[in-house]
Symmetry: C2
Subunit: 379 residues, 2 copies
Amino acid sequence: MESSPPRRVHLDNGGRAPWHPLAREAFLQALDDGWADPRRLHAEGRRAARLVDGAREAVAAVLGARTEEVRFTHSHTAALHRAVLAGAAGRRRAGDRVVVGATERAAVLHAADAAGRRETIPVDRLGRGDAGAFAAAVAGPGVALAALQHANGEVGTLQPVEQVHDAARAAGVPLLVDAGASLGHARVPETWDLLAADPADWGGPSGVGVLAARGRVRLPDVGPEDAEPWAPGGVSVPLAFASAVALESVQADLDAAGARRRELVDRIRAVVAGVPDVEVVGDPENRLPHVVTFSFLYVDGEALVTELDRQGFAVGSGSACTASTLEPSHVLAAMGVLTHGNVRIALDRTTSAEDVERFLAVLPPAVERVRDALGVRGL
Amino acid sequence: MESSPPRRVHLDNGGRAPWHPLAREAFLQALDDGWADPRRLHAEGRRAARLVDGAREAVAAVLGARTEEVRFTHSHTAALHRAVLAGAAGRRRAGDRVVVGATERAAVLHAADAAGRRETIPVDRLGRGDAGAFAAAVAGPGVALAALQHANGEVGTLQPVEQVHDAARAAGVPLLVDAGASLGHARVPETWDLLAADPADWGGPSGVGVLAARGRVRLPDVGPEDAEPWAPGGVSVPLAFASAVALESVQADLDAAGARRRELVDRIRAVVAGVPDVEVVGDPENRLPHVVTFSFLYVDGEALVTELDRQGFAVGSGSACTASTLEPSHVLAAMGVLTHGNVRIALDRTTSAEDVERFLAVLPPAVERVRDALGVRGL
């Protein structure tokens, strides 16, 4: 009797995970009921509009926001762009400085450059932003906007958003909290003025993002005039609906899924730390439950990803928050840790202990093979 | 035995039609095979990338373009915005004038205003652009870009894109052809430098658009730096794949579906012309096969849409190319025809002769009821 090949294990679920089964069901239901244009007056249009409004309401309930404060955008990146560009434009009278954390997504850094003068607040070696430096910067003159992620999606470190929000509020500066790596995995505090989130990260679809803005925040148009400036041309109603259904479902299981994955990550951290010449990065305690990143000396990241892929394991590498171009990650660089030879693991809710053990059995010899090929054995 | 209620008839399929059955199948297949991020290096990412590339290739074949000239955007509107903003930015040295037709989509008009100085070329009473005036305008000094739709989605009139492209080429000015209302319904000429199209209009999904640019056209970044400036954050791979499959399918049946719908529209035009105080607008010959619009004197458009909706018929009204806000349509205004009390019919491929006859039986008394309610009988 031949044994079937072992099933493939996907450990690259940060920013893009397989759809939650309920998201698929919700999508198909909304495709039947909500294919029409929600701006139309007829019954089909009104039904589509009700689906979008229901989805906004569901997301708002999770965020602690009002329904009218939540909009669907075309992507998480589009939500970040609009939050920074329009958020800064709405505060032009105050100035043009945009204060951001050093490990924000590339979308935030680039949008801050486009919106005005970017001021970047450093992080420590664990990737945690300096709340004191942030508070001092937002209290300075001419600050239009501040942006701090809730958690870094590349290394998992949680950021001091409550403290920074206190300081921003005292200075009258709106704070954008990027919850793109955390919503659906960890409880997101309600200390934000603008918030962006990523359905594809929590088991919903890609091609849709979330932008929430408190009623007090001004978001003037920054592109050509459009009836839906947050998503010109509108978003897919079925994608928006599926996003909300997935979020409600993962939110209901948040603590259990978090505890289970936290244990698996602890196990990965402990075993990987035993591989020679490795650095396990990110805050070991104050972190996302499902993400862990480590960097190997004398290893090329692309070669290691390819070797693990051949063995049946999909992992992330390089600057996971921009694209897998394997450019040196600005996040790891800002932390002052090894920027090459890194692997990011982001566990899905369906990742089992057995999957993890199989990976941990395969990883050390894979690293050794890649080092051998580079001729660095014994260095 | 009770008779079942007559099935609802949806006659508002311009810009948003029910998904083609093959689009649904393709979506589900791509959801299984292409949920991953196509920028990743592992097998799942490479498979997703192959699906997108295959979809680009299929659309390119229909357009007479090379695969690398075709990109998926987040919506048809987003494609128009980028084409105008980046197209004009890429020609800044030539000048900042943007020459557009008077009946272009609001997205083109607004983007032209944002990109530079808009110069608007009038249309005649049938909605056809003045090719001579267009040629004269593009030959003038300081023109960065010209834009002309292949067909107007609100009234169906085809535009002289070949003639205008000849003139634009002679002047060295890139021409954007908006095929958003025609691709999938009529043969689109290959006389374009930039082309935008709308999957939701041909039975594909909404939440995705098409932007094609000939290799010679420069499209510099106009927003924050991004790896995919045509769709920051990426598009949904399953939506893109479903779009392409739907297009291949409708393209294979283009002539037959066109001829069948053209006959039904001829029938609608003939019967509606017999209603008192009505104007059937748009070119009766040189037009899209499936679109017809008419305007009734002494009728409020919203009231008529609502009355028809109650009778089981969904129709469009108002400025169908922006939103159904029922603002007076800039298209009808540019044509110099009645801007109020209008109804737009866009037939789906599944619309039957029986559907049309039922609609034509219901329409005249519905108009009469709305006029009665307004107290204009006998005016």
